[in-house]
Amino acid sequence: MGIETAIGSPAITTQLDKVVNWARKYSLWPMPFGTACCAIEYMSVVSSHYDLARFGAEVVRFSPRQSDLMLVMGTINTKMVPILKRIYNQMCEPKWVIAVGACACSGGLYNNYSVVQGIDQYIPVDVYVPGCPPTPEGIIHGVLKLWEKIEKESVKDWK
């Protein structure tokens, strides 16, 4: 097969994007921005029964500088917004955001003076997971949807 036979058996040719995206999607390091009940659901996602480790995303980091996936799980109010933005800005690229639950996606139940009607008003969101709260399967489905997105990216997209 072309160049691979010419240079010998241990070599495989591929595209840089494919290798990098393959590595990135199987080693997401989540930063849990859990502010309410949805974060409780996330605890079962990372625990042994649902086990997010099967999808390579079990290394939960509470430091945004060591993470590339921000999971916003819970109600965000206006007082919290500057903190949310600061933590998002502290994450190194490439980085992705999943809005977990109705609250993070749209404000959920709470249409009042204090609750943000969707975090996408302030930070970019890649995947929205509906539900109040979403089931653990739903959150895992969100991670798999993010994989599909990562597969379509290019190394040139990120700084």
Partner: protein, 162 residues
Amino acid sequence: MSDIEQSLREKFAEDVMAVSDFRGDLAITVRRERIADVGAFLLSPEGGAFAMMLDICGVDYLGREPRFEVVYHLMSLETKERVRIKAQVSEGDPTVPTVTHLWKAANWFEREVYDLFGITFSGHPDLRRILTHDEFVGHALRKDYPLDGRQELSRPTPFAEE
């Protein structure tokens, strides 16, 4: 007439403005200027030793005069009795004496009532907003505050203030 009501009527006479005893939930409205004195009496052994301040809340009866009410929820750890003390507050002069010197727990409760209703507590050691952020204008639980009156904050709230 319950014992608490009787002893309050004896001690404070006409400062006790109204009493309601709905299915065992005793609520006594007193003149707001005397709230700290009533509190000190209820805290003392002869007043029932109501040592636990469960909550202080504000109520906005928009359209009524006086417009606001502050409700103190007390519990006695000795008799396990509960009582609510109410003070009516007008919109023109929304001030109530503090009870922080009697119950330490009252500190944050009074800040909450101040934050959300704009009722000030004279003599409070540190009357700042506690729930809404410090750039917030107005008082969110007043009935005439708009439901969607969101106000943005420009910077993170400091965790500790010197």
